[in-house]
């Protein structure tokens, strides 16, 4: 029951979904829609696991006054504040009015957006630093990569006079010909990998998702 039933479930539902793709009959579609309806609900409960983990870890740090425990308090404040606002100050759990709550929207617009956008904008500086310290044309392959990158970066640069239109066309050709070939090969390889792994999971060869007993 602990291992055999899950393996059997994966096999039965996996095979059903493969066959269902080729069977457009009404009853096949009905079962398909029924399963999808259930999966949305199961999936939502699964995602709650991550939130519980965060609360547990943060509360643990605060309770035992571990290093930087104050910041975990800030995390918990942010989390519970959004929950209170999202339920319209805990007045409304049944309708979606909390999504239009003033504080809920403003916390999103003026806290989440600035911080998340800025955190990723730090990458601009790290790429500049990496360009200076790490991007070396040590071999033919690295040189090919750098030259292709330079051409694509200069594609809309007007400061090269008569060469500029040719740079634009070269960049366009690079993207639509060798880049296309390379990415197509990767896509095909990844596709074959996905199909192989999915088959291994359905047939019970790959059982890592079951975890340990």
């Amino acid at each position: 029951m602990k291992r055999q039933l899950p393996l059997a479930l994966v096999f039965i539902f996996g095979i059903f979904m493969i066959i269902q793709y080729f069977v457009p009959h009404e009853s096949s579609e009905w079962v398909f829609e029924f399963l999808l309806d259930w999966i949305y609900i199961i999936g939502i409960f699964a995602l709650a696991l991550g939130i519980w983990s965060l609360i547990r870890v943060s509360w643990d740090k605060v309770k035992y006054r571990k290093e930087n425990w104050f910041y975990s308090l800030v995390t918990l404040f942010g989390l519970f504040a959004m929950i209170v606002f999202g339920f319209d100050y805990l007045r409304n759990f049944q309708t979606a009015e909390g999504l239009q709550n003033f504080m809920f929207r403003h916390f999103f617009d003026y806290i989440m957006i600035p911080i998340q956008a800025t955190m990723f904008s730090l990458l601009a500086f790290f790429i500049a630093s990496a360009a200076y310290r790490a991007f070396r044309a040590r071999s033919l392959l690295a040189t090919l990569l750098l030259v292709a990158a330079l051409i694509v970066m200069l594609r809309f640069n007007p400061y090269f006079g008569p060469i500029s239109p040719y740079l634009e066309k070269t960049a366009s050709w690079l993207l639509n010909v060798p880049n296309l070939a390379a990415k197509r090969a990767i896509v095909i390889g990844v596709g074959l990998g996905i199909v192989a792994t999915a088959l291994k999971v359905i047939l019970g060869i790959e059982r890592a998702y079951l975890g340990k007993d």
Binding site: P6, V10, G14, I44, P114, L144
Partner: protein, 264 residues
């Protein structure tokens, strides 16, 4: 630009302050950055809980369990069978209890079975069959050199696409030793791959710079509005906020330039 209300000014000032606090990481890790980082983690998690509740559980589960046609204990629904996926979902939570963690495998198996079964025909068709079909187009020998400089529709471009795709696939085939003709083909393949990665890198640089430019635009918006507002106190608050960061930066630069040097 219209002068903004005091409330909007305060919120925008908060956004600008948190932006600058996050940028301060470029100098070094500091309490302001840590504060911003932990705050966003909490706010994001709380936001996600609300979205899952209002967009997920309420319409897909709770509304269906309360549609008013069937009464059993507290349940008021003609679609009582929706309790089954709810129960399966709750069974997922046993993952945290070591003794009962095996129970979470059942709903997990349902999800994995459905997801993998769905993936096989679609990914096969999408990634493999359609792409192979597109790679095997007839070459336009009549227009081999194309019209103009590096024509992507030219015959030679189509040949490069076809040969490049096959060669790159050869490179990834590790079940056979890369030697002789195989090695030559694989080498051409890795050249094509490097050009592809170079093109991606060029685009990546643009992407990263864009992220920073947008932050400049937002800070500029705030400065413009604070400048044009008719309340002097807004300007004072903005200059104090911005000034603190500028002064701290100047202080740190001066401290760095005057640091004690080690004797060599």
């Amino acid at each position: 630009m219209e002068a903004m209300s005091f409330g909007t000014f305060i919120w925008t000032a908060l956004g600008a302050f948190l932006t600058l606090a996050t940028f301060s990481f470029l100098y070094k890790d500091n309490p302001l950055y840590k504060l911003a980082e932990h705050l966003v983690v909490g706010v994001s998690a709380g936001y996600f809980v609300i979205i899952l509740w209002h967009n997920g559980l309420v319409p897909n589960l709770f509304s269906r369990l309360a549609d008013g046609n069937f009464y059993f204990l507290w349940l008021n629904s003609s679609k009582w069978w929706y309790l089954v996926p709810a129960l399966l979902g709750i069974m997922m939570w046993t993952r945290f209890i070591r003794k009962w963690a095996w129970v979470s495998r059942w709903p997990m198996a349902l999800y994995i079975g459905i997801a993998t079964g769905l993936a096989i025909p679609l990914e096969m068709k999408n990634r493999v069959l359609t792409q192979l079909h597109s790679a095997m187009r007839p070459v336009d020998w009549g227009n081999f050199l194309g019209n103009g400089f590096l024509d992507t529709a030219a015959g030679f471009s189509q040949v490069i696409i076809f040969v490049g795709t096959i060669s790159a696939l050869f490179y990834f085939f590790f079940s056979k030793e890369h030697s002789g003709v195989f090695k030559g083909v694989a080498r051409f393949g890795i050249w094509i791959l490097m050009i592809g990665f170079g093109a991606s890198f060029g685009y990546t640089v643009m992407a990263r710079i864009s992220l920073f430019i947008q932050r400049i635009q937002v800070l500029e918006d705030f400065t413009n509005v604070a400048w044009t507002t008719d309340r002097g106190i807004f300007l004072v608050v903005w200059f104090i906020t911005f000034g603190i960061f500028v002064l701290l930066s100047i202080y740190e630069i001066v401290k760095y330039l005057n640091r004690p040097r080690s004797v060599q």
